[in-house]
């Protein structure tokens, strides 16, 4: 169920890489934990993020979850649609629910992340 070509973090962010562009969102598991998303706080374009720096936060009615940068780089785009339709994070977490795009500063950052199969194993460990 988790896209094979994505990378994942233990905090449940995903990264999809295209050249030096990284698209970042939260995993299906994370959106289910949060419940109905009502607001997504996003950074300004041009902001430079280090690994594990806060990108922003995602809010449901009764919870807030911070989103951390899985890789370092400069923010090149934010998903403006989430401003009016934050529910995309619930409906299509790995697609239309993407949060930001980064121009990656260091490809090596990806080395610390999990591939889909490992992430699924990691999730099994959490739920049992």
């Amino acid at each position: 169920m988790y896209p094979q070509n994505f990378y994942f973090t233990k905090d449940h962010e995903w990264v999809a890489v295209d050249g030096d562009t990284a698209t970042i969102g939260i995993s299906d598991f994370a959106q289910k934990q949060l419940g109905d998303v009502v607001f997504v706080e996003q950074p300004e374009i041009g902001k430079v993020l280090a690994v594990h720096q806060t990108i922003g936060s995602i809010e449901s009615v009764k919870a807030v979850s911070e989103v951390f940068a899985p890789v370092s780089g400069e923010v090149t785009a934010i998903n403006a649609e989430l401003g009016t339709a934050p529910e995309a994070v619930n409906q299509d977490p790995h697609g239309k629910g993407w949060i930001i795009r980064l121009k990656m500063a260091n490809q090596a950052d990806l080395g610390a992340l999990m591939k889909a199969a490992d992430y699924e194993k990691y999730l099994e460990g959490l739920t049992h």
């Binding site: 009502v38 607001f39 706080e41 809010e59 009615v61 009764k62 919870a63 807030v64």
Partner: protein, 448 residues
């Protein structure tokens, strides 16, 4: 008097079900070393008639009511329509908790929604919270809010902001690394605009200015907003006399980003300083940083309109140390009274009340400043309060007036360095011409 509803039989039966012999046995989990093994040293219980007599006796020791009073300085004596007392004392409004269960709290929630609407209309801004503790607290929260919104640490605060508000701001900001700088006032009583422009830098989060200010003088909010915005800072306008919003241009329309203050004037008695009503409104763009509870409109499963507390992810019970404020309980019942007051006065009544304040204050200022040696301290326009410069020590003059049964105003000697002869006089719509004339005659006499 006891308010326990269990009979002796009830207690026996309940103790038996719980499996203990006496109520004291229920506290075995408290270590012996911290148990209190004596009765508290409190006065013996009083039956209601005694209690009534006793408490009424304490109230009677307050002789304030025997005086004709022109005290204001952030707390104003305005008429309160009878229906405010009657409706707000309904037990359905007095005895519920915060409306966490919206299905059984629509009355409170709709009233908050109406309150928020009224505050938006009065301030000219987009969103209002459900209340803060009081004006001083609202001012402190406004400082923290403009810091969060801008990420800047310096804040300019008008010296003409109510002294208690300035003290509260100091307490609230001392431990979180904010730098508060004061901006002085000129001979008009308003903020020195040159000093303001000079101090306003790119590292300044914003400006806090009260209008009408502590001296009663109405400030030029438009100019303040322009100065703040020129450096990408924010303007928080404070109203300690909320009634002024009924007549003067809405601060939000003059460029204020946040409007906050004290709404005691809306249906709350002076009450020796509380409970009062802190209010706060802001532009929609700043909603996520607004402190305090907010009610919002939604629908139930049948599509029927209803109201809920919303956007609570800003608040302490969810965001904990990252919350916009630590406030939990607010002044909901005071906000309810304000709602009733404003709806009762309505569009015309509020304006008329505000206008009468201006006319009566103007009349008082005119007759008082005709007394030889007495003049208005400031040249700026005022709403219902003004400062007189007397030819002698104002505290002494106030004491002499008091001997004649009049509290003529607040001597400012303790507040401002060179103000020993200054007296702050408030004249609201409830003061009659006769009482103003009586003050004038008495003042003339004590100054003679």
């Amino acid at each position: 008097m006891s308010y326990i509803a269990l009979s002796d039989d009830d207690k026996r039966e309940m103790l038996a079900r719980v499996g203990v012999r006496t109520p004291a046995d229920l506290f075995h989990c408290i270590p012996e070393g911290v148990r209190l093994r004596r009765l508290l040293n409190l006065p013996p219980a009083m039956a209601e008639p005694e209690l009534d007599r006793h408490m009424s006796g304490i109230a009677a020791k307050n002789t304030y009511g025997d005086y004709l009073s022109f005290l204001g300085a952030g707390v104003y004596d305005h008429f309160i329509p009878s229906i405010v007392d009657s409706l707000s004392s309904r037990t359905e409004f007095v005895t519920p908790y915060t409306p966490y269960q919206p299905e059984v709290a629509q009355g409170t929630l709709q009233a908050i929604f109406e309150y928020q609407t009224l505050i938006c209309q009065l301030t000219g801004l987009d969103v209002s919270n459900a209340s803060l503790y009081d004006g001083a607290h609202a001012a402190a929260e406004a400082v923290l809010m403009i810091h969060r919104l801008t990420g800047r640490n310096r804040i300019l605060v008008a010296r003409s902001l109510h002294p208690q508000y300035r003290e509260t701001i100091r307490t609230y900001t001392r431990n979180v690394g904010l730098v508060i700088e004061e901006v002085g006032y000129g001979t008009c009583g308003g903020l020195k605009s040159a000093e303001l422009r000079e101090k306003m830098g790119d590292d300044v989060a914003g400006i806090l200015v009260q209008s009408p200010n502590f001296f009663g003088v109405v400030e030029d909010l438009k100019a303040c907003a322009e100065t703040a915005h020129a450096r990408k800072g924010l303007l928080a306008a404070v109203a300690a006399e909320a009634l002024s919003l009924g007549l003067l241009e809405a601060p939000g329309k003059m460029g204020a980003d946040i409007v906050c203050g004290e709404a005691q004037s809306f249906g709350l008695p002076p009450a020796f300083g509380g409970p009062f009503l802190g209010f706060m409104a802001c532009a929609k763009a700043h909603l996520r940083q607004l402190p305090g509870r907010v009610a919002g409109q939604t629908k139930d499963v049948d599509g029927k309109r209803g109201f809920v507390l919303t956007l609570s992810t800003r608040e302490q019970h969810i965001r904990r140390e990252k919350a916009t404020s630590n406030i939990c309980s607010n002044q909901a019942w005071c906000a309810l009274r304000a709602t009733m007051f404003l709806e009762t006065l309505g569009r015309e009544g509020l304006r008329e009340m505000a206008l009468q304040n201006v006319h009566k204050a103007k009349y008082a200022a005119t007759v008082l400043s005709k007394i030889p040696g007495v003049k208005l301290r400031f040249s700026g326009p005022f709403f219902n309060e003004f400062v007189l410069d007397l030819p002698k020590d104002a505290a002494a003059a106030a004491a002499a007036l008091k001997a004649k049964g009049i509290l003529g105003g607040l001597p400012l000697g303790g507040f401002e360095p060179d103000a020993a002869k200054a007296l702050l006089v408030a004249v609201t719509e409830v003061r009659t011409k006769a009482s103003i004339d009586r003050l004038a005659a008495a003042l003339e006499e004590v100054l003679r």
